[in-house]
Subunit: 384 residues, 2 copies
């Protein structure tokens, strides 16, 4: 940031996913981040071309061959649309100084066919173990950014951790919260709504839960029976002002996951409102929450129960200041500009270290980071 | 062929599918043709690199990143494996004088990222209408070959029709056939086993049917009840010598399809044995069968019934001679070499004509050629 070469005028091609427009109207976290990065770079004076759906909005140059989001028009053939979207960028690769990919592994395989320009890929998450095979095979052609230190694959080299950011101005700071805890996530065992309910019951405090049923059986068995409209209140999916009010009015956001979180946008949204986080000590949580300052990083539900009485002692102003200092969109852009500078200086990614190569030969089912869809471990290690 | 420039020494990269090894042990028609083309070019002195599965066999240079066929190891991730297989070739595109693609539309989207060398794609069949969108978008980067005149999309320009070929020496010529008709295809309504049964019953002749149940309900309802081991004999899947004997011993091969056939390898295999074809007047059949010489091209089952008594009047030697003259592997290679010469001379495919552009805007559900999986026509025309 401070004093480094300006990258104003740098010709950057930014590849967004096409499941939703960029930015999305509702759900669409990858498109949201790609859109925020594109706008942020544009504000810093870079010459940005955003490759996204035709119904996207961007202050700079928008390029599109897929008219609307794949989830908005089921008549579109996703395989064909995504391939043409990626090819549309790579056919013009020579026009850019740098390509920034937010669309997972497929673009890496196209990049192998071109020698220029440098490619930076933000890995928003590994969907399934076999995807790693594509990352390894194309690692000589792309630099990688992780969205937390925790969500790194030890077989890959990373340029930087480029945390996602939010604009604090979009969240209302609340100095005096209400007397309740909040839970806001998909209803799936890994998101831990059942642990939030256990915590609230044992701590004797009201809980408001918001989200969409992702795992219906789990919701029906582990969540719904506890909803009584008083001790446990169910709000469904909340957006906009309602979401802002729920987060800001809470004594804390409860985030007792059972699977490592990759980043956790809701955590920084809560802190932007001044609301601390009671989070599980796994995944990105210890990086995002300053333990004892902007919340508590808890090793167990027992520990979390014990922390509830201490919540009022935390400074809500410190929570918001933490987001402004570390997790703003401006800080995200600073981090990406630093990553771009390194990529432009190196030109080509470094060869893998012996340790990385050892990890690549290791079982994919034995990784520190999280997969979205972890299939049962096969009897033999899959090839590719 | 005659007198044209020799292409000996031409560096050709041949991209085979990876569903099966090249050549396949059993089923795998695209891999079979790709393998036959590669071997044929190699025999003509071209410098051929075959990109196929690692367990493929080739007299020239074999390149592989996918160890075995995707259908041989379900632990492999097909999307990743196919992408890396295609990228493996295109990363080295600059080393070749020409690329010949047998792997459908995906490689076209990779080719857009590279300017050299010329690309020739054999379209072995359009799997579904939306695939045409990919062909149109990449038509400026690839020349196309069809496997019959009938299987052409009117929105595309074609270099040539490059009929598939067989080696007649691999089929036993039978001068005196038995007293039965043969049917050999997947059991699916479009292949018309039920029409073969109707024909045989009405003509009062025995029928031997061979194939695998593709559409189980169809097989159970329309085929199985007619199998009596005498008038209608079911042989299951036949390979090698058994297949050769079944085809060679028949009075005719019955091929009364209900959907246009793209090529029909079984037709030339039967004729290579000296066996004429009773075929439906649609798709490639009129191009492959010389009506009244190597079989009869029939507009209806009624017409086919009337042709049965005339079968013994056809010259079985003429059937075999027709294959040797027109549908041998050598003739297939001649056609491909001609196509290569044109591609090398032109360098870049011609722009689409006004008529082709009109067809591209036309409903995909209203085409002369066949799709493998024709979904119900949507209420609105799909985009992409």
């Amino acid at each position: 940031m401070s004093g480094e070469t300006s990258l104003a005028g740098l010709k950057v091609a930014l590849l967004s996913p096409v499941s939703w427009p960029s930015p999305p109207a509702g759900y669409g976290p990858w498109e949201q981040v790609a859109s925020d990065v594109a706008e942020g770079l544009f504000r810093r004076g870079l010459d940005v071309t955003l490759f996204a759906t035709g119904n996207s909005r961007f202050s700079g140059r928008l390029e599109a061959v897929v008219p609307v989001g794949l989830n908005e028009d089921p008549d579109q053939n996703a395989d064909v649309a995504i391939a043409l979207h990626i090819a549309h960028l790579f056919e013009r690769a020579g026009e850019f100084d740098l390509i920034h990919n937010h669309l997972d592994w497929k673009p890496l395989t196209y990049a192998l066919a071109t020698t220029a320009p440098p490619l930076v890929t933000t890995i928003h998450g590994f969907s399934a173990p076999p995807i790693l095979g594509a990352y390894y095979a194309a690692a000589r052609r792309s630099f990688f950014c992780s969205i937390s230190d925790a969500d790194r694959d030890p077989g890959l080299a990373y340029l930087a951790t480029t945390y996602n950011g939010v604009d604090p101005a979009k969240f209302t700071f609340v100095e005096q919260p209400g007397e309740y805890l909040a839970f806001m996530a998909r209803f799936h065992p890994e998101k831990g709504a059942h642990l939030a309910i256990e915590l609230a019951r044992r701590a004797g405090i009201r809980l408001k839960i918001a989200g969409i049923p992702h795992d219906r059986a789990y919701f029906d068995e582990a969540i719904a029976p506890h909803v009584d409209g008083d001790a446990v209140q169910l709000l469904g999916e909340v957006r906009g002002a309602e979401r802002d009010a729920l987060l800001g009015g809470a004594l804390a956001l409860v985030h007792l996951t059972t699977r490592p979180e990759r980043f956790g946008l809701t955590l920084i949204e809560a802190m932007a409102c001044g609301t601390p986080v009671l989070g599980a000590a796994m995944g990105s949580v210890p990086e995002i929450v300053r333990d004892g300052v902007t919340g508590f990083v808890c090793a167990s539900v027992d520990e979390a129960v014990g922390r509830v009485p201490q919540l009022p002692s935390l400074s809500r102003a410190a929570c918001r200041a933490h987001v402004a200092a570390t997790f703003s969109i401006d800080r995200m852009i600073d981090r990406y500009l630093d990553a771009y500078r390194t990529a432009l200086r190196l030109g080509t990614p470094p060869p893998p270290t012996a340790e990385q190569l050892r990890w690549r030969a290791h079982d994919w089912w034995d990784r520190p980071m999280a997969f979205t869809d972890l299939p049962p471990k096969p009897a033999t290690r899959p090839r590719v």
